[in-house]
């Protein structure tokens, strides 16, 4: 039976290095684009943007 829901535990956090968050984004983009995956992509982008600025908004 086809799996349709992923319970995702990100390997990175908002404080991870930008390159690690980018790597995670690449992994997410390789998955089927379900609602849950898209939520994690949006979140990872937000983390990445801030991590690149050293925590500044």
């Amino acid at each position: 039976m086809k799996d349709n829901f992923l319970m995702i535990d990100p390997p990175v956090t908002p404080y991870s290095k930008p390159e690690d968050i980018e790597k995670w984004l690449t992994e997410l983009r390789a998955l089927a684009q379900t609602e849950e995956v898209n939520i994690h992509i949006a979140q990872a982008k937000e983390w990445l943007e801030r991590a690149k600025k050293g925590g500044d908004k």
Binding site: L6, D9, P10, Y15
Partner: protein
């Protein structure tokens, strides 16, 4: 839970109530600091006194360095004077801290309650604490008298024993020498017991060392009574608020082992929510001396229809708990067996087994039969087995594994891996299973990172059929949450909690208070603590010296208290 949020958002007193909640958090953090400072000052008083006592005793040393029996009374008198000085300094310190604690208890209600009322409430709370008579019939003054008496007995006894033993040994040695016989090594050692330095050290140890020492007992009295003054002032102030709905019993994150506090903090006895009580008289706080727990005001419109519907008596609640909680609350295993056989009444939960045993025997109950034949409950067996399974497999494959079982029947429902490090996938059939409201499913999975439950985990745990979601770290840590069924569908919570914690932690990283690695280790845990404190779920963490626990220890209570409070404030403001 959704209705709670929307009600808060449109109520004109929302700002005041939100201010009270934030100030209550701050007051608890301030109380923790006051507690530490007071105990530190008290420790210093006792250490100074111990040093003075040691010096005084050494001043009585004879040429041979030993103390003489004929000096014993003078030594005792001088030592008692020094112990009396402890008493005076300590009393001033206690009174000062009682006043500060009571004022901290009233501060959250500044602006919401008349100022002169708060001044009176703080004053009354100190007087209440000073005159409060506990179950053992003792007031604070009695406990202080016992502290002083115990100190005189412990220190005086240590001095007297050493001097008398040394004197007797000296007499015996003289008799031996007069008879021309040698003095044995054992006898020489006993003579040395009266050595002034040795006696000084013994007296110091008697005052300071170990549980049950005068210093330890004094610290226990301080923590108990300072916290009492704070809690009484807080509750007397909050009861004046027009929107007062009840008192929530808050289990301290530092609470070491399950005990009766776990029940007080979790049972929904009055239909007001977990651990919420309708009045001061019905609030079982403090449950025991030396408590680390607090209470928090609950406003009327925080109490939901679900809270009212989920009212449960304490016996039924206890029956639903795993063995470690049942043992922690009830104590004796015979009481746990009685609970499981339906013999324990609600008013017998706190009755000691020795009394209950006689009561049961009068009723014709054969108490020898009250044994935990299988000491591990079904639920614990399955959870432990499941944790072992997912961690063992996770360590061997590096991937996430998941087990789900029905808590009511123990039947295993799901056991799987998606062969991925960062996720487990569910089929449609599995999703529909955990969506069924008639199920009570425990979901257990491993986290190779050994960090706490992710937000995605919580969303799975929020399905109607999910009773509890657990993440087991590869380093021994275990994180569990019981999540409200509306949680997963609530708009903005995920974004708000993430931003609240991130906005709190980034400045701390940039100020050098913690590293990025430390921040990453605690990020999910902080999110979960804040959501637990904000009543979105019941969250529990067992660290077992894992990375999260180690990081929290390294950062220390002060930094973590600031992080929790700041993140909670930002989270509640965002809502």
């Amino acid at each position: 839970m959704t209705s709670k949020l929307y009600t808060l958002a449109h109520n004109p007193r929302t700002v005041t109530r939100s201010t009270i909640k934030r100030a209550s958090n701050q007051a608890r953090a301030n109380m923790n600091r006051l507690d530490r400072a007071a105990l530190g000052d008290l420790e210093q008083i006792y250490r100074n006194a111990a040093a003075n006592i040691k010096n005084t005793i050494e001043g009585f040393a004879g040429i041979d360095g030993n103390l003489r029996l004929n000096n014993l009374q003078d030594i005792q008198a001088q030592v008692n004077t020094l112990l009396g000085q402890i008493s005076n300094t300590r009393e001033a310190l206690l009174n000062n801290n009682l006043e500060q604690a009571a004022v901290l208890g009233t501060q959250p209600f500044t602006g919401a309650v008349n100022g002169s009322t708060l001044v009176r409430v703080a004053d009354d709370a100190v007087k209440f604490t000073q005159s409060f008579m506990s179950k053992d019939g003792l007031q604070l003054s009695d406990r202080i008298w016992r502290l002083d008496n115990h100190a005189r007995e412990a220190v005086g006894g240590a001095i007297q024993n050493a001097v008398v033993q040394g004197h007797s040994a000296s007499q015996a040695a003289n008799e031996l020498l007069n008879r021309g016989e040698p003095v044995t090594a054992a006898l020489r050692n006993k003579i040395n017991n009266a050595n002034a330095s040795t006696v000084g050290r013994s007296a110091s140890r008697a005052l300071l060392t170990g549980q049950g020492s005068p210093r330890h007992n004094a610290m226990r009295v301080f923590r108990t009574e300072i916290n009492r003054a704070h809690g009484e002032a807080y509750m007397a102030s909050g009861a004046e608020d027009e929107d007062f709905g009840g008192w929530r019993y808050l289990l301290s994150p530092r609470h070491p082992e399950p005990d009766i506090c776990n029940m007080h903090a979790r049972v929904n006895k009055y239909g007001l929510g977990a651990g919420v009580y309708p009045s001061r008289q019905r609030t079982p706080w403090p449950a025991h001396p030396n408590t680390l727990s607090y209470v928090e005001i609950v406003f009327k419109d925080e109490i939901t229809a679900d809270d009212k519907a989920e009212k449960i008596n304490r016996i039924d609640w206890l029956k639903q708990q795993p063995l470690n909680i049942q043992r922690g609350v009830l104590g004796a295993p015979q009481k746990v067996a009685a609970l499981r056989k339906g013999l324990l009444a609600e008013n017998e939960i706190e009755t000691p087994w020795r009394i209950l045993k006689k009561r049961f025997e009068k009723k014709g109950i054969f108490t020898a039969d009250l044994k935990l034949v299988n000491p591990v409950s079904t639920a614990v067996t399955h959870t432990d087995e499941a944790v072992k399974y997912v961690v063992d497999n996770g360590l061997s494959t590096g991937n996430e594994h998941l087990v789900a079982f029905d808590q009511a029947t123990g039947k295993e429902l799901i056991k799987k891996t998606s062969h991925a490090v960062n996720y487990v996938s569910f089929t449609l059939e599995e999703v529909s299973l955990i969506r069924r409201g008639d199920r009570s499913i425990a979901l257990i999975h491993n986290h190779p990172s050994s960090t706490s439950l992710s937000y995605a985990d919580l969303k799975v745990g929020a399905h109607p059929g999910s009773a509890i979601i657990t993440a087991a770290g590869h380093d021994g840590a275990i994180f569990s949450a019981r999540v409200s069924s509306n949680f997963g569908t609530m708009a903005n919570v995920e974004q708000n909690i993430n931003r609240a914690v991130t906005d709190t932690i980034w400045p701390q990283i940039n100020s050098g208070a913690l590293t990025r690695e430390q921040a990453s280790a605690i990020h999910s845990h902080v999110q979960n603590v804040v959501m637990h404190r904000s009543r979105y779920m019941d969250y529990e963490a067992t660290f077992n010296n894992g990375i999260v626990g180690k990081t929290l220890n390294d950062l220390g209570d002060d930094i973590m208290a600031n992080i929790y409070t700041e993140a909670e404030t930002l989270f509640n403001e965002a809502l």
